[in-house]
Symmetry: D2
Subunit: 442 residues, 4 copies
């Protein structure tokens, strides 16, 4: 039953960006315009947010600072050494971000050096024995044609002290950290250590999450490419399902806590019958359970396609307490459970279904970015350099309401972005699949 409910937007209070000091160096940029120091855009666009809701005290609206070049810099470009590191799982667009950072630092600011740290934070640790790479316009010029990250990546935390030691040793002015939730949390600790040591090192984050589950990134880079690739896999599942009597196609896509890839690719393909996401708990059996609805669907249409986010249905299988190297809980195997339960369910009805299972995860995340993500990543990289040169630190570059903005790092890691199951977005997903509004019993 439809209801009137309001958009749920996380409301930030403090959106100020820390700075290393007074920007006193004149920028050497050739083209275009500088951003005014007080240029900012509204965080929440709704009329209620701007005008306040009747009967409640109006809050001052929150703004995010606009990204872009400043006329005055904190670092002297001719002496500013930069470093770039990519952490965590692969995501389309990593090479584009690296490339844009290198190109902007060299071609616009003429910095003396941009170093590439190999294999994530491990690259800072001497005992791991990885060399750093000198990144130049020449050796990055074609990397955007390839997926993955030219620097390599790794998971897991490293000693904050050792990281800052390395930054000091290499004489780094600006460190660009490209990574997800865990990386941004590590970045906060690194920044705290930098402050403690009173060093003039700016730390600029670039939020990476193929799940699109980070607040204030709409969407996160690589997500669009991931959806494009996911639809290809789902199209294959549809072909398989229609190609056999009682044919079922089951596709598992990424989405630990948020089902955006599942929902979005189902919307794009318009050939999916069930989307299962972490945000919408469901039961397997029972009158209103998934299996009952699935059976009904197959009886009517002859086949069905199911897209499941890896984090869906954890209520069913019971979450484990194990953690992976990045500190995330190891998820229960919902796809495996579904395979078993579905076959058994049909078997009980004396129906021999043909279930084809597709797990396209690594095919999705390791392709080169599409044009849209390429441009997005270029701007993230460009604006990261502008922000760092101006002496800003402890921030991430993101796109919010269509604008590139500066967001305090600590805001990004406070809460995950999830699908609002009471939104028009989720309604459209349900309408495109035809699945019921809820598959919980009772």
């Amino acid at each position: 039953m439809p209801q009137v409910c309001k958009e749920q937007v996380y409301k930030p209070t403090d959106t100020n960006i820390p700075r290393l000091g007074e920007p006193k160096v004149k920028s050497p940029l050739k083209h275009g315009r500088y951003v005014d120091e007080d240029d900012a855009v509204l965080v929440n666009l709704s009329r209620q947010s701007v005008e306040g809701t009747k009967g409640r005290k109006k809050r001052d609206p929150a703004y995010f600072e606009l990204a872009g070049p400043r006329s005055n810099l904190y670092f002297d470009p001719s002496k500013a050494k930069c470093a770039v590191v990519t952490c965590g799982g692969l995501c389309p667009g990593l090479n584009d971000v690296i490339r844009a950072i290198v190109m902007t630092a060299h071609n616009e600011y003429h910095v003396p050096s941009v170093l590439g740290i190999r294999y994530g934070l491990a690259g800072f640790i001497p005992s791991e024995g990885y060399d750093v790479l000198e990144l130049t316009p020449e050796n990055v010029s074609q990397i955007h044609e390839f997926g993955g990250t030219m620097l390599g990546s790794s998971r897991g935390p490293q000693q904050v002290g050792e990281i800052v030691d390395a930054l000091e040793r290499m004489n780094i002015s600006i460190l660009f950290m490209i990574g997800g939730d865990g990386t941004l949390k590590a970045a906060e600790r690194v920044q705290a250590e930098i402050s403690k040591r009173n060093l003039s090192i700016a730390l600029v984050g670039l939020p990476k999450t193929i799940d699109n589950d980070i607040q204030f990134a709409s969407p996160s880079f690589g997500f669009d490419t991931a959806v494009e690739k996911a639809t290809e896999a789902i199209r294959c599942a549809h072909v398989e399902a229609t190609g056999a009597p009682w044919g079922l196609g089951l596709v598992k896509v990424m989405g630990r806590e948020s089902g955006f890839i599942a929902a979005q690719s189902a919307m794009a393909l318009q050939d999916v019958d069930f989307v299962l996401v972490p945000e919408d708990e469901f039961d397997l059996s029972g009158e209103n359970g998934f299996l009952q609805h699935l059976e009904k669907r197959v009886r009517t249409h002859g086949h069905a396609v199911i897209v499941v986010a890896e984090g869906a249905g954890q209520n069913i299988i019971g979450q484990s307490r194990e953690k992976d190297k990045s500190g995330n809980p190891v998820l229960g195997d919902i796809a495996g459970t579904l395979k078993t339960e579905i076959k058994e369910h049909f078997h009980k009805q004396d129906i021999e279904c043909t279930l084809k299972y597709i797990d396209p995860s690594y095919i999705i995340r390791s392709v080169p970015a599409n044009a849209n993500d390429r441009i997005y990543c270029s701007f993230l990289g460009i604006h990261a350099v502008h922000a760092g040169m101006s002496g800003r630190t402890g921030l991430v570059i993101s796109r919010w309401n269509g604008r590139y903005v500066h967001i305090p790092m600590k805001l990004m890691t406070k809460a995950r972005k999830k699908i609002n199951t009471c939104s028009n977005y989720w309604r459209a997903v349900l309408e495109s699949t035809g699945q019921p509004g809820s598959m919980k019993n009772g």
Copy 2:
């Protein structure tokens, strides 16, 4: 020389949407939430716009109404007959919009009939002799896998009276018009005639422009797909240019008055040396002219790739006074001029350049939409039906600041959207190409 200049956003004053009458019918929707009648989002997000600029009188901020289903409808769904028409040139996503309208009207509102008008406005005119198509969930279910429009399209105006006659004769409640600037202007005239005749026909527009040159659509649907395809053609031009001594690749892309496709695809590919757009006049000869810079580039790099929007350089070739069937001035052939002038210029230096010219226009506009545009188009179609059922008329559905909104039709046709050549966006384009900030002499 960089300067501090402000974002130029067209500031609407009246954003109210006309309505046919009081909505008194309860909506039959099953899932999700309704939009409140006063849900709206800010048009202009900048702090100045919200708080006012110092020393100037603060204006009341303008809002756009949020798109989405309303709990009360004007039309009784069980009696509301709909019609869809596609006008003007092809654009990726047309079939997706049609499909979403048909699916939403049938599956959510259970309307008795959705008619497809063939070949644009001409399909309304009896003397043209085109049959209408009954559109059903079955016959539209796979159309999004194909480019173009299943309805066909045509250019040029038709007698407003005859169109409204046809609407009356077919007993249409809601007409969905998918088309560009010219079509939206025609739609305003149709709506005026409907009002004059006191008919209860809602008219909902869906702004289509592959050039992305319509205000308040960011970007317009199909644009993302077009850029993706354009980069493929430009990549080929790059291969051709590097494959020959003094190799030049020249690619003409769409963009009559706005060079967004040219700029965006150059950004995406990062292998373009010159982007020529209508917004940035240039000279051919002279010390700071294009030819001089081109020669310098080829002498340094051995080759060069030029992307030109079809409407660029009209200052050079002199605009003709001819008009095409849609009433647009026939553009001078800038690509032809460039070909001739470039060859001659190099010939004068005794250099035999190898110039390869690519015009990928029809390949760009006739492909199926990519995943991103598919979802965008689905929502446009869905929200168009919601808007029409609620009795709104004289509006378009668009996406603005990431939200789907209702915008008065008359606002859309007031001014074209153009590249702001003093923006960070254009700066990024210039940096990616390495071309000078201006190629005007003196």
Copy 3:
């Protein structure tokens, strides 16, 4: 150590095609040329085969009859009813074959009806309850744009008597069976029953095997498309492998008894380090075992990509005695074994490798055919109709040495085609991967 060894080609003795009777009906074809009844091409092209080897008695060379239209037909086209059935697993190009059969039967021979049998041989069995589809130029005209088979498919044998009963009941003149080894064997039994009952039903087979493991099809249809898609998955494995320290990418591709997809896609991508195929047994451990070579490779290059055919390494895991519905032995899970053994091996060396496993099987087999396979499949379908109309039966249409030919069905099922590991082809694979000539110990 290289050696001089001869090409191993299976040498057929009897290549005569059975016929239903004297062809007395004049063909109604409009264009082109007829094939002479004695047009034939050599099976084995080598000089030795033609001239005989010294010291051995020269055998008469074997020929395959050329496919193509005959001037005289056995069936009266105006009365010949056709039926098409697709059996076994999906393969790119099935829809193209179906389409070509329907188009040729209707547009060239003007037969009264072509029936589509649903879901494989099960579609003949009344108790299964599947309706037949009337196939027309209209309803097949766009099917080649989609993967899979519009008819559906299924595995497993059915009662031969019931199949022939159905053919009699439906009054079929020509049955086109598209399927693999098992299907062709079933077809032989069906044809025997047809003979026994003295019926005038022609049976024309179209050999389908995505593994490319059927004799006298070079390659089989869909194989080229499969390789193209497999390379995409392997490219992703390469990106994953290079993206992590001690990074390993493991890709399992189809190939139960023959490793052609694995070998061919490794050749195409040129970024694979190990190809494991059924034809080339290997050991896991030991000095010359796979794990030792893998470790050496990763120590040198930092990463490695392994492509394994599903049927490889059965010597290691011990073949099970289970059989699937098509009667094929259930293969041991070599990919699972490799994953475990590789991790353990590196773990023993105190190395934490990052192994990413990709199984793209269903993504490979369910895509639409590429241009090359489309044309191949068109000709198979066209020539199948020509053959059937001429009264030939018990044959398959295939391409051999670049010509479309008629081959007796019984020849196709006598032996599998396998990679000759002593050929230049396999040498090229080894050279492209850099793996040792053998990974067997002792």
Copy 4:
């Protein structure tokens, strides 16, 4: 009217390959097998060719030598310097051939050096001032991911003496020339000069023709990729044609003297109404002329798609006497003529057709090779090195009847390969388009 006519295969008489001298050096190859010196395959497979036609004297069958490694070499690999040059227009696969030559020469034979000649034959001429490139496994390892040729290319002949001077100066043992008809003719002259000077330089050709019009290459490399890309452009033309009343799509593809790309891509897409090729003369006007048939088609179907090879219809427009730099006659502009004549024809009937013209040439030829062509090109490169090392010269490497073979260079340039308009192939094209067998009047 169909007729019985025989396949027209050009029958070579002398297929012996010249050699520089006795091969006395033992090959260092590690894997696989050597080819016997007398291994050869039949040129013409037909029964008539093998057994002779009744009443005519039987000719001795002709064989082509099998390509592949020989156990004895002419050149000492440790001293053999190689050079590679690419000439003429771009074609998919050039980089793959280059890569395979470099990889084989370095990794299998361990030659000291492979030089890349820049920009075609011009790269040999000192006054042009191009440096040579040292080609190594490292710098060619990723080139197959890009279209074009990493060496650059150029058209036109150069002084044979200067070329051989350069070979002597650079101390080249084997020169690999990748190019078309003109290049192979130049290669013959270079080889003659080498002989005259009594030099030990082997010259190995690799026949390149995107038109697929070279004898004894079936098909030529890059052709398959070209067809794949051409179908994409034609699909767009089809979308455009169906999107407008009286819609016409006209696509010009490559094919100066042979219409293979046009015919093949029409077959692959199955949505083309007229294929116009050089081999099949047609009239424009008159009762049986093209325009009349086109009009009929559009009246029936509402739209039509025409694919025209650039060399078609030269009888209509009159061939010019101009020649381009490669010595080929400049073709008349058949596409321009068609555009004008079609519009005029419909205009006369008071029909306003909508004609969209697409010229995808440079998009077709500059893409990277598909998997099929990649493997083909790899083998061409591999076998070219084997042939050169064995001391063979004045030959090309080609694939004939599915085997890689050595063919005397002079055989390749004797005649063009053309579509046999009396073949089953052309019949299939006609049937797929539905166009009449001939559009000549009277």
